[in-house]
């Protein structure tokens, strides 16, 4: 003669225990739901955001170096050799090189605007392969080519275009650059890691040389290298581009900024997950608390169940199942809520949705584990109540 409780009946007892105190169950489960929702949303949003960041990094490539040969203590690159870009191309792992040189000129809407009002827009002379090397694109119109770089034509960075009030190439806009009217050929796409180019008006080297006496001595050189040798290339660049003053040369990697942002994002994500974990911990304590109260209130029920044949194990199981149901329901609600937040956020920011499925599975397991741990003490307490005492009047 042994007592036996079917698993299905045990779960039924748990469900009944919760459904007899619905409001309390809902309130208690809410804590878990909030914690899980926070974690799922943070994981989902950061995964979605990171997917985009990684795509951007992939697209732009991490093998681009930005060299400013005359950025050192001696100021602008007057002393930089004109053949600096060509010399760079001789470093074996270097695949592509392009250069820009700042022209001594200002761009204005028309000849009535004072010369000093530059709106912070630089006029840059550039090679025709600038966009190709940067892997950037043109938003509207076209970039300068071999022919148009001989003529007074320009391409604007998106920020420069906005500042000059140019949002369309129809009718073809013209801008005033130190006494000459330039035709705007195109507007470049936003370039996250080249903010200086976004604020510039790009013209060809030949026309810059003719009108503003701009030399080939570069202000900035962009170098694409074999990714495996990028550090070696960075090391030899200063002496190559400016042999007389290698100390004045600054070499940077624009993608580092994105990398740093990714690291910062990760740190923030970890912090938020930590906060979610704290919320879960608090919710677990709340469940334990409510289960202890429940055990006290249901002393009689425990006594009757023992009288009709429940073992200590059956009582323990009943309260443990109740506690796990509570946290499990909270977990499922939390996942639904967290997923909804992620989907909404991704849609509003136009991000690629990336909810990690293992994260979801882990959340449910975490919720159940919290329920089990939180319910353990109350369940053991319930099972230890002597039956004779529980049914005493």
């Amino acid at each position: 003669m042994k007592s036996r409780l079917r698993l299905l009946d045990a779960i039924g007892l748990g469900v009944r225990g919760l459904s007899s105190r619905v409001a309390r169950a809902v309130l208690t489960a809410t804590g878990i739901a909030i914690g899980i929702a926070a974690i799922v949303a943070v994981l989902g949003i950061s995964a979605s955001g990171r997917a985009d960041l990684l795509a951007t990094l992939d697209e732009l490539g991490t093998n681009l170096l930005r060299v400013e040969p005359g950025a050192g203590i001696f100021g602008t690159g007057t002393d930089v050799p004109e053949e600096a870009a060509d010399m760079t191309l001789r470093i074996r792992p270097v695949e592509q090189v392009t250069a820009t040189t700042r022209a001594e000129a200002t761009v204005r809407r028309n000849d009535l605007i004072p010369e000093l009002e530059t709106s912070g827009i630089a006029v840059l002379a550039a090679d025709t392969d600038l966009l190709a090397v940067l892997r950037a694109g043109i938003n509207e119109g076209r970039f300068i080519d071999a022919a148009t770089s001989q003529l007074p034509t320009m391409v604007l960075g998106p920020v420069a275009a906005e500042r000059l009030g140019i949002d369309s190439l129809d009718p073809v806009p013209r801008l005033f650059v130190d006494g000459t009217w330039f035709t705007v050929l195109g507007i470049m796409e936003p370039m996250e890691i080249h903010p200086d180019l976004e604020r510039s008006a790009v013209i060809g080297y030949p026309v810059a040389a003719t009108l503003f006496e701009t030399t080939r001595s570069p202000t900035t050189i962009y170098v694409r290298s074999d990714p495996d040798f990028i550090d070696d290339v960075a090391e030899v660049l200063p002496a190559t581009v400016n042999p007389e003053q290698p100390d004045a040369v600054q070499v940077s990697r624009p993608s580092d900024a994105l990398d740093a942002r990714r690291a910062a994002d990760e740190a923030l994500t970890n912090l938020l997950i930590g906060l979610g974990a704290v919320a879960l911990l608090v919710a677990g304590v709340a469940i334990a608390n409510i289960m202890v109260i429940s055990v006290l209130e249901r002393r009689m029920e425990i006594g009757v169940r023992r009288a009709i044949g429940a073992t200590r194990g059956h009582i323990r199981m009943q309260f443990l199942i109740e506690s796990m149901l509570l946290s499990g329901i909270g977990g499922v609600l939390g996942i639904a809520l967290g997923a909804a937040i992620t989907i909404g956020y991704a849609a509003s920011r136009d991000l690629t949705l990336a909810v990690p499925p293992q994260g979801l599975a882990l959340s449910v397991l975490a919720a159940l584990a919290i329920g089990a741990v939180a319910g353990l003490y109350p369940a053991i307490r319930a099972s230890r109540i002597p039956p004779a005492e529980a049914v005493r009047k």
Binding site: L5, V304, I308, G309, T311, G313, A388, V391
Partner: protein
């Protein structure tokens, strides 16, 4: 006559401070087919005796045998098994589960036997018929009168065909008319062969039972 229940030299001391001796050297035998009233003033040890008889508690000294099995030799699981198969309890406050129907409450008496749900409900319906509540199956406890609730509790005790039914002040919360009905129900069930022990304050009720055990200060004074 076969002994369903045998208490030999049973002591029960509740540890203090100060320790309380609830039962002193109690010797009682309940035979199959008995209908016994346990009477005595409050604090005489009636409830303790009932809990001992029903294996809800273990004695400090002495032996208790249920159908020849010494309960001292049983672990919690087997003792619980014994309760679920051989003993039926009825309490003064009915102790029904609110929110589930009468028939579900009665069926609960079989849940720790591992009986399937459909079988439990079938047998619960039979037990409810037996206590005269065939027309109240689907009612919730709070839709029933006190007497009806106690009948449901009695049905829950009977549903597993126990060797013995133990009732602790079953009429304590009922008016005299309803008490009379419950007493008649017990007599009827006993006539069908159920062994029943009833604790009561009600001397009229006790007088109707063929056998009375009188308790005073933890001892059995008089066994008729």
């Amino acid at each position: 006559m076969t002994a369903v229940l045998e208490l030999a030299n049973v002591d029960k001391v509740y540890p203090g401070p100060p320790p309380v001796a609830a039962l002193c050297d109690v010797n009682v035998t309940i035979n199959a087919g008995d209908l016994v009233a346990v009477v005595g003033p409050s604090g005489a040890g009636k409830s303790t005796l009932l809990h001992m008889m029903g294996a809800l508690d273990r004695p400090t000294a002495g032996t208790i045998s249920i159908e020849g099995v010494d309960i001292a030799s049983l672990n919690d699981r087997r003792l619980s098994g014994l309760r679920s198969h051989r003993i039926g309890f009825v309490f003064q406050d009915f102790f029904l589960i609110n929110g589930i129907s009468a028939v579900a409450n009665v069926a609960e008496g079989l849940i720790y036997r591992g009986t399937s749900r459909s079988e439990r409900i079938k047998r619960a319906a039979v037990a409810l018929e037996r206590v005269g509540l065939g027309n109240r199956m689907r009612h919730l406890p709070n839709q029933l009168s006190g007497g009806e609730r106690q009948r449901v509790a009695i049905a829950r005790a009977l549903v597993g065909n126990p060797a013995i039914v133990l009732a602790d002040e079953p009429t304590g919360n009922l008016d005299s008319h309803t008490s009379e009905e419950i007493a008649q129900l017990f007599s009827g069930l006993n006539a069908d062969g159920t062994t029943i022990v009833v604790i009561t304050h009600d001397t009229d009720l006790a007088a109707r039972f063929p056998r009375t055990i009188e308790m005073r200060d933890g001892t059995v004074q008089d066994v008729e």
